[in-house]
Symmetry: C2
Subunit: 140 residues, 2 copies
DNA sequence: GTATGTGCAAACTTTTTGCACTTCG
DNA sequence: CGAAGTGCAAAAAGTTTGCACATAC
């Protein structure tokens, strides 16, 4: 799921955002760091190449990227906020013991849910997106 | 979903916790406040009757109650942590516009998911619980 | 009486903000 | 050039901690 700096720049351009080194690095970081990094993880990663980026900037850029739907915030029980690239629809496996989050993609399941809610709907609510949080333990 | 102070005390006793006024009020608050209250909401509610409870105490008690599975933390995108009573399994409707969270119970859906995962499983992962986050808009 | 729980205030972590300066297009 | 983005440092939220005191059992 790594992307090059070039690809990162294109993503920004497509959304009508100005391309800055900070933005492309942050976008690159969220795509490269597979483990749903926190702001802190992102800052650490970026400072390897870019030692002077300011924390405030990272938060501002992350907000912008979330707004423009290039990345998403991931809900967690306890931790600080985490981020992930916007890629194909997927669900999350949460490990209660370790706090690890892993992606889970399952098109058959998605179709099943889609069918189910097409038939039933939820009165008073317009569904835009369904995400499963699957809680449990990794066994390997 | 309101519970009386007596019921709150019994819940604490069942879990082997000492019954204190702070604990019963906090438990009562989480059950009474339907909207998945934050620590702050809980504190405000309790201070109506109990004006001198300390913030630190509320956080400590909430942690204890979560540990003992009397209440649960609810994942949110942006806000501070929210809480809800442990009641029958249910899912959550999240309104992107307003931040409102509402419970959604659907046994037919639960059976469907249970069947699906009984057949398929997830390699390397032991499922304990499946929660849907249904994102969208309330239309009423 | 003793283990457990609470109050308090300080500290910590994470995130936000305001404004002068810089940069992208 | 002008609008938009960044750095910085301060402050706001939200939560945790340590310890003396109080309370439930």
């Amino acid at each position: 799921m790594k992307i090059s700096v070039e690809e990162a720049k294109n993503l920004l351009l497509e959304k009508g955002l100005k391309v800055t080194p900070q933005r492309s690095s942050i976008l690159e970081a969220v795509f490269s760091l597979e483990n749903h990094p926190s702001a802190e993880g992102i800052i650490d990663f970026i400072r390897q190449k870019h030692p002077h980026i300011a924390t405030g900037t990272v938060y501002k850029v992350l907000d912008t990227l979330v707004d423009k739907q290039l990345i998403k915030r991931v809900k967690t029980d306890r931790d600080s906020m985490r981020y992930e690239p916007v890629i194909e629809d997927h669900h999350h496996l949460y490990c209660a013991d370790t706090g690890k989050i892993e992606d889970y993609t399952d098109h058959e399941l998605d179709r099943l849910l889609e069918d189910y809610f097409r038939q039933h709907g939820i009165p008073g609510f317009e569904i835009q997106e369904i995400r499963l949080q699957i809680n449990g333990k990794f066994t390997n």
